[in-house]
């Protein structure tokens, strides 16, 4: 017999090479045109996988926010009275142009955000197109959407979105607002402004009337000026619970309508009778999709005590085959953390977990890239419910494992949090799945699956994960007076 030869199982690089041009400098999108900021200030956005600068972006000041709200207010007069079928026409065309420019958008998103190209290509951008397409069809059917109300638009919507799904969040905000006859001022996240600005180009291409959508880039201060602007009638925010509470306070003395999609610490519950192969994939998808920078991430793994060793054994085996690195490589499973700030925040939580006595398990054999913000998928065993890493949202590729003995205990542990965004339940018994699904306080419950999204399906949280829904007819209610 020949001695077994060592086989190199590593993958050859498979870079996505679609060329995307990025302008050196981006203005603000106000009144249908790209304009220089009156603030005369700019900031830089980098590729988190290389730490190289991608572009300079305008930082909107007070005068810029004023101009954007003014443009949206003016546009509202005609847009709110535009024939529904005509409004639908614009949204259908936006959806089509997104599909046509899908590859470009996917690459640009991966560059600006750091998430793997396979996600931007297969999840983010297709969902963006679907969201516009779905809402296009609502324009002339709003009287059937929300029982008990006469559908009327609200006015100018201030929409502030996060960096974890930059273009998808823009779509979730803009599409229903426009379908209902509102106009928009959107503030993308500071670290990921480029795809929203590329969407602005598409809005120009389809001749969307000027001012119907305005995009002001900037950091927290720009967002604060926007949501507190007296010319705004509706505020929609996706981001941290901390900022959400500040916004709620700022809006308390006004008549502004408010919806908030905030943080989570979602349970992923594995029963002993779970279909184990699928469950392991569900755990991986739940916490390492988008590097765990997902508000509904399944970051608290609750495993039935009798199978915890089996689950950890299979999971650590699977973790070894996760490829961490270049987001633009088509084989990459886990890309870059979005910013140095976030990287440091996640690392602080990892240190905290170790300090509080949990067992850190990292099963990553390769080397992390030299440049860029990367963290190997991380698992903590021996976690107590009171540990910081079991209670606070880490927003990174860090999974904490807890155990339970009975379905009642699983529900109690699942609900032992101020959050209530999502939950995963893995079992082969339908009756148990339904019972636990009914018991968990969460806006989205995934039975034997995780992290599924769709334009027709409402998304949003219970408790401190916010209120209001996005998607489906429940989502439309947020944009109708």
């Amino acid at each position: 017999m020949q001695p077994a030869q060592a086989i190199d199982w590593s993958y050859a690089p498979a870079p996505e090479t679609f060329p995307v041009e990025i302008q050196a400098e981006h203005g603000l999108f106000i009144g249908g045109r790209f304009v220089d900021p009156r603030s005369r200030k700019h900031f830089e956005t980098e590729n988190p996988a290389t730490e190289r600068r991608l572009s300079k972006v305008a930082e909107a000041g007070k005068a810029d926010v004023d101009a954007a709200v003014k443009a949206a207010t003016k546009a509202f007069k005609t847009w709110s009275r535009t024939r529904p079928a005509e409004r639908a026409g614009y949204l259908f065309r936006i959806a089509r142009r997104i599909q046509e420019r899908a590859r470009e958008l996917a690459v640009l998103e991966s560059m600006d955000n750091g998430k793997p190209i396979k996600e931007t290509r297969d999840v983010d951008v297709p969902l963006v197109a679907q969201h516009f397409f779905h809402h296009a069809g609502w324009c002339d059917k709003l009287q059937y959407a929300v029982p008990g109300i006469e559908p009327r638009p609200i006015g100018v919507c201030a929409q502030v979105i996060p960096w974890n799904f930059p273009l998808l969040m823009a779509a979730w905000k803009i599409a229903p607002a426009l379908a209902c006859g509102n106009t928009v001022v959107l503030k993308p996240a500071e670290t990921t402004p480029l795809t929203a600005l590329r969407l602005a180009e598409i809005l120009q291409e389809v001749d969307l009337p000027p001012g119907v959508v305005n995009i002001v880039t900037g950091a927290g201060e720009t967002g604060r000026m926007l949501v507190e602007h007296p010319g705004v009638q509706k505020v929609a925010f996706t981001g941290s619970t901390e900022v959400g509470k500040r916004i709620a306070k700022a809006c308390a003395g006004t008549d502004k309508r408010l919806t908030l999609e905030l943080g989570g610490k979602s349970p992923n519950i594995i029963f002993a009778d779970a279909p184990m192969d699928q469950a392991i994939e569900g755990i991986v998808n739940g916490i390492w999709f988008n590097q765990g920078q997902v508000c509904c991430a399944g970051s608290r793994l609750l495993v039935e005590e009798s199978v915890v060793d089996e689950v950890i054994g299979r999971l650590t085996h699977r973790m070894r085959s996760l490829r961490v690195g270049d987001p633009l490589d088509k084989n990459t499973d886990v890309g870059a953390i979005n910013s140095r700030e976030q990287l440091e925040r996640v690392n602080r939580y990892i240190e905290c977990g170790v300090r509080e006595g949990a067992d850190r398990i990292v099963c990553f054999d390769g080397a992390l890239p030299d440049a860029g913000h990367f963290i190997a998928p991380t698992l903590f065993r021996g976690v107590q419910p009171a540990h910081t890493i079991a209670r606070e949202e880490i927003f990174g590729p860090v999974l904490t494992v807890l155990t339970f003995r009975t379905p009642d205990e699983a529900i109690a542990r699942a609900n032992d949090t101020n959050y209530g965004l999502s939950a995963g339940i893995w079992t082969s018994r339908a009756s148990k799945a339904y019972e636990v699904a009914a018991g968990v306080k969460a806006g989205v419950v995934w039975l034997n699956t995780f992290n599924q999204f769709d334009a027709t399906s409402p998304f949003g949280g219970f408790k401190e994960s916010g209120f209001g829904r996005e998607g489906g007819r429940a989502g439309l209610a947020a944009y109708l007076a």
Binding site: A248, K249, L447, Q452, D454, T456, P458, K463
Partner: protein, 284 residues
Amino acid sequence: MPATVTKTWKLFIGGAFPRTESGRTIKAVAGGTVHHLCKASRKDLRDAVESARAAQVKWAASTAYLRGQVLHRLAEMMQARHGEFVDAIRATARITPRKARDEVDAAIEHVVCFAGWTDKIAIVLGSQNPVAGPFYTFSGIEPTGVVAVLAPDASPLLGALALACPALAAGNAVVLVASERHPIPALVLAEAFATSDLPGGVCNVLTGDHGELAPAMAGHRDIDAIVAAASGKRATALKEGVAENMKRVQVVDPDSDFTDARWRSPAVFRGVTECKTVWMPAMA
């Protein structure tokens, strides 16, 4: 001549009628009689929330059919007290007997309407979601939890029920703070609650100073939603409660016409229910 026994007005918490722990009272003069009502304290509010929390899970878990029957029983108990409600409304409000009777009739009809809503909320507001993938997905409607209600002064009986009924029908437990100016109808209502089959704690009734109780409600971390007739600074104080624990706060115009059909429409469930979406693989 037989002695007349006058009623001692108390709070209604956890199915019992306790006095306020604070010992404070509000004086209300009605038809030559002096009534001493309880001026509920923050502690009374906390006790009421505790009772509501304890009762809510079971109330929500009971079938919609059963909740409907219980609410209908409440309407039956109200009908039996029709005259007493008319007197209670007229005790402190300058209003014709005719108008008072109309309000009681409307209030009873309102409760019957919501007795019929319990098993239709999910039908009307829920959905099956045709997602673009191999999944079966539906959205159901669940109660938000413990709901605090501040009743309006205009139509003190109908207004209180217009704000409380959607929450009760959907499976929430309620802490109802009676109209500040005309609290007696809500106290008679508490007696109807007590003699209907509504489980203790599902609907609690307090009387007191809204200016004192509103901020306490806003700051209470175990209240999940507020439905309040309020305006101005009081409305702002209530809405600041959102920042406390993301409680859902719905402020309504105290001078609303509660006989309007919109108060019986499915739109009223929005502030006191949560949409839960469940996904499962179509082929497992």
